[in-house]
């Protein structure tokens, strides 16, 4: 090895080659417009295909027709009649599920006995398809709003718990030792060190929980809902009215993007301290 470099160094500088660059990469950077372009290109292809006829009307509705349906929905005022109850269900259910989930997650993170008791329980609840429990919730909480709140709350609860106790586990122990060494009370340590330290993990868990909440919204509106985005989609689906089906699906997608953007906004404000 050293021989090789030596002879290389003493050899006359015949061919000076530039050192090939092989670093870089593995560092994602934000390119906001790319996501937008992907959307636009896909929609344009669909529009072109449906107009040209190589995508049949039964396979995919024309994007322009979906837009027109959406316009109708907006103009007739039905959009908000559907959106209002859905957002209320989403808000109440997710608020309840996330609040209880964060509380239970913090308790699991802090107390060994709660952890020993609750972790297997959460593991047992997590894989249950919550949709399967809808009839049960209807019996327990009634066919009205109660069962819908319960379904969404239950669906957001389990992922929130798992994310939260993982986040609490990941709080830097040296910071907790520091708190103890300065004689901080237990409650101060939890409030000023553990909770802020767990916040990044809790918020990224929230992204998943809220996406699940939107999925469950449709399921919750399968039974006993006259209005709501989910009800609208299911109604359109059973009539094979693809334009309306897609209009509803687009609303859900937009809802997902909005929720994700909101969490991103909160992250930027609350987690500005991260390096």
């Amino acid at each position: 090895m050293s021989d090789a470099t030596l002879s290389g160094a003493t050899a006359p500088a015949t061919a000076a080659k530039p050192v090939a660059f092989r670093g870089g990469g593995f560092a994602p950077r934000p390119h906001r417009w790319v996501g937008f372009v992907v959307f636009v290109v896909l929609i344009l292809i669909a529009e072109w295909g449906t107009r040209a006829g190589w995508i049949s009307a039964l396979t995919l509705p024309k994007p322009s027709d979906v837009l027109a349906t959406f316009g109708e929905l907006y103009q007739s005022g039905m959009l908000f009649k559907h959106l209002g109850p859905s957002l209320a269900r989403l808000f109440v259910g997710a608020l309840f599920g996330v609040t209880v989930g964060v509380s239970v997650g913090v308790l699991i993170g802090l107390f060994s006995y709660v952890r020993a008791g609750a972790v297997p329980l959460v593991a047992a609840l997590f894989p249950i398809p919550k949709i399967a429990l809808l009839p049960l919730f209807v019996i327990w909480f009634g066919i009205g709003e109660g069962s819908k709140y319960a379904l969404i709350a239950f669906g957001t609860f389990t992922p929130t718990v798992v994310a939260t106790y993982g986040a609490v586990d990941n709080v830097d122990r040296t910071l907790i030792r520091m708190g103890q060494s300065f004689g901080l009370s237990w409650w101060s340590i939890v409030r000023k060190i553990v909770l802020p330290g767990a916040m990044p993990g809790i918020l990224s868990g929230l992204r998943i929980s809220l996406a699940i909440a939107i999925i469950l919204l449709v399921a919750a509106e399968m039974l006993g809902a006259e209005y709501g985005i989910g009800a609208y989609i299911l109604q359109a689906g059973s009539l094979y009215d693809l334009e309306r089906l897609f209009a509803g699906v687009v609303i859900l997608s937009v809802l997902g993007v909005v929720v994700s953007a909101l969490i991103g906004l909160i992250e930027r404000r609350v987690l500005g301290w991260r390096t």
């Binding site: 060494s181 004689g183 060190i193 330290g197």
Partner: protein
């Protein structure tokens, strides 16, 4: 306030890490503890501050902490242990809040300790904006804010580069010269030990015992970088430790 360690022994899972350590830490002096890695010097410091309990032996404080002392035994950690979500002044205010010190009184204390550590201009900065040396200055300011009787310093300069380390040593010396404090200073760096220690306790490798206590009489503010007397002491300490350090290095880690 003095600290007395009386026959401290300890083992983790049946492996003895410390054997019969008896030591007095007199008020107003800096006692350095040096030793090969794994000799239990950081553990010993955690015992002194009550963050861990020794298997055997007793640690007592003799005399009352001075008036206005909020937290008699106060640590300075190797990795600074600053809350990244709080500003410099927020980090200092953290340790005052639990003593009910808020508002104007807190601002007065924070202003004073920031001035003493030359951090006044950085009061609103977040830890991520600060260099390692600055972060450790904040940690020192935080420790000063509770007016400790004994400072327990766990390798406080080990995470810093050698130039920053020199600067902080000078800062510590000038802090001590202005107002002598009691400190237990754990380090593996013999240069820091001879620059800052009135007494240097040399521990053997695991299980840690006191091998020798070296006293340096030269006043702290006369100890300069490259002082021949100190170099002599440092050489002597290294001789004491070299074989132990080599043996400790070749050991398997199972604690």
């Amino acid at each position: 306030m003095d600290i007395r360690l009386d026959g401290i022994s300890h083992s983790y899972d049946g492996v003895a890490v410390m054997n019969d350590i008896t030591l007095d830490i007199p008020a107003g002096r800096i006692v350095c503890i040096v030793g090969p890695s794994g000799c239990g010097k950081s553990t010993l410091l955690r015992f002194i501050g009550g963050l861990e309990r020794p298997g055997q032996g007793r640690i007592s404080q003799i005399g009352e902490p001075p008036e206005g002392c909020l937290n008699p035994l106060t640590y300075i950690f190797q990795d600074f242990a600053l809350l990244p979500w709080r500003t410099v002044e927020g980090n200092i205010s953290l340790v005052l809040e639990d003593h009910g010190i808020k508002g104007a009184r807190a601002r007065e204390i924070i202003g004073d300790v920031l001035a003493r550590t030359k951090l006044t201009d950085f009061a609103k900065a977040l830890p991520k904006q600060l260099s390692g040396g600055m972060k450790q200055r904040v940690a020192i300011a935080r420790a000063l804010a509770v007016n400790p009787a004994v400072m327990l310093m766990d390798e406080p300069l080990s995470a810093l580069d050698s130039q920053t380390r020199e600067l902080l040593m000078d800062d510590l010396i000038s802090l001590w010269s202005r107002q002598p404090f009691t400190a237990v200073y754990v380090t593996h760096n013999l240069n820091e030990a001879v620059r800052l220690g009135h007494q240097i306790v040399v521990l053997s490798r695991r299980p840690g015992r006191i091998q020798e206590v070296v006293t340096i009489d030269k006043p702290l503010d006369q100890r300069q970088f490259g002082d021949p007397d100190l170099d002599e002491k440092q050489k002597y300490l290294w001789q004491l430790m070299r074989d132990e350090a080599r043996a400790a290095d070749a050991e398997l880690i199972n604690v």
